[in-house]
Amino acid sequence: MKSWTYILLKRDLLIAFRRSATYITPLIFFLIVITFFPLALGPQEKLLSSLAPGVIWIAALLASLLAVETIFNEDFRDGTLDSFFISLEPTFILVFVKVFIHWLITGLPLLLASCVAALVLYLPFESVSAMILSLILGTFFMSLLGALGAALSLGKSAILSAVIVLPFSIPTLLMGTSVIASAINNQEYTGFLMIMGGMLAIGIPAICLLTVEALLLSYD
């Protein structure tokens, strides 16, 4: 018998692939936001490369928030979530798997798109690896926060969860941009990466537990 985590992973990925909008929309959104900056600020190479870390990170944050409502809303409406809560499987793990799937669908494509963004914003080539590392850690944290926001605003508008989540995403934004900025200036950036990793290490258990609690609000 296959474990239910595997079944859940397979099912959700299948649903996402059949409905291409779920993973393409954040991607296109990310690229459009990136395109807006050279159009609005002018195409000078020096200006753009100095702004690139911030621009890429802001676009990534907004794009990962875009698909947040898909994490639980669908399952809540069709009753899948109900059956998870009565299945006696640990809901904590369920939430973690859901977050992981959300990251696979939105975070991972963003990593690829960010390479294109680095190219068009003239980000120095040596700092691309730092950018990708920071984005891996940062977008996963954003998926965690997004799950909490989605659980708290279950059945309500997506903009509400964005307003809830955005203030909490500021530390990620600061750390992420610091990583890239340090890499551009040839400075040590592992410290910032470690802080981001630490945030994940605390965030995964703490936010998953609180998300379970938030989901239960809709089942009282």
């Binding site: 909490l148 509400l160 307003v163 203030p167 909490f168 530390p171 703490a206 609690e213 609000l217």
Partner: protein, 239 residues
């Protein structure tokens, strides 16, 4: 404390004491601070804004810790009163943070020459302001008050991570903002004539918070229990 009518009756007495003592402490502290204490040798009289700025900064942070504690109790023991306390404390905390930011920028203009700098202490305080806004916003969108309390409790527990960052921001980063005025472990770096009024002001601000919190809590209780018989009796007696 658990029974709303009992709390309501008891708190009307406490309100008088809290009100009187907060007025006395705060006016004493402010009079000593603004009237009696000597002017700073470098900043002159501008520094006197710390008698409002520092206590409200302390309040903005400690109210958030208080709210996170209430949230924790609310999530684990489902104590109704802790949810109401959380709801009642949020707008007060937000006002204090607004007060810190405004007094800080009024002080910053003559001393730093600018209303605002993107320094770690200032930015993290601004984030705290946004988190307060998110908590209050979330509460107002959920119809069922008890569910709203629990949702806000969850968010308050996550948000409390910002408090140590604000506290330590002056030590971790090179900032324009000066290090803490008060430390528990060492003697204050100011002269006694300056920090004694500040200490009194801090106590006064805590009393003001307790006073407004009790007022808010009483309103919250009346609103939530408005269908109960005792509320009708109380309202009937007053009008």
């Amino acid at each position: 404390m658990g029974s709303p009518p009992l709390f309501y009756r008891w708190s009307s007495k406490a309100l008088v004491w809290l009100g009187v003592s907060s007025i006395i402490t705060l006016s004493l502290g402010l009079f000593m601070g603004i009237g009696l204490s000597p002017a700073d040798y470098k900043q002159g009289d501008v520094y006197r804004i710390i008698y409002i700025h520092v206590p409200s900064a302390i309040m903005g942070e400690s109210i958030f810790i208080f709210m996170a504690l209430c949230g924790f109790i609310n999530i684990i023991w489902r104590a109704k009163i802790s949810g109401m306390l959380l709801k009642a404390a949020a707008p007060i905390g937000m006002s204090f943070v607004l007060l810190v930011l405004t007094t800080g920028s009024i002080w910053g203009k003559p001393t730093w020459g600018t209303w605002w700098v993107w320094d770690a202490r200032l930015t993290s305080t601004l984030i705290l302001f946004f988190i307060y806004a998110a908590l209050i916003g979330l509460h107002s969108t959920i119809e069922d008050k008890i569910k709203a309390d629990r949702a806000v409790s969850i968010l308050a527990i996550v948000g409390v991570a910002i408090i140590p960052v604000i506290k330590k921001s002056v030590d971790w980063w090179q900032t324009l903002h000066q290090p803490s005025t008060f430390k528990l472990t060492s003697a204050p770096s100011m002269s006694p004539e300056m920090y004694q009024p500040l200490l009194i002001c801090v106590i006064g601000f805590y009393l003001v918070f307790a006073f407004i919190l009790t007022l808010n809590l009483r309103n919250e209780i009346l609103e939530r229990e408005s269908s109960k018989k005792w509320v009708k009796e109380v309202i009937g007696n007053q009008s």
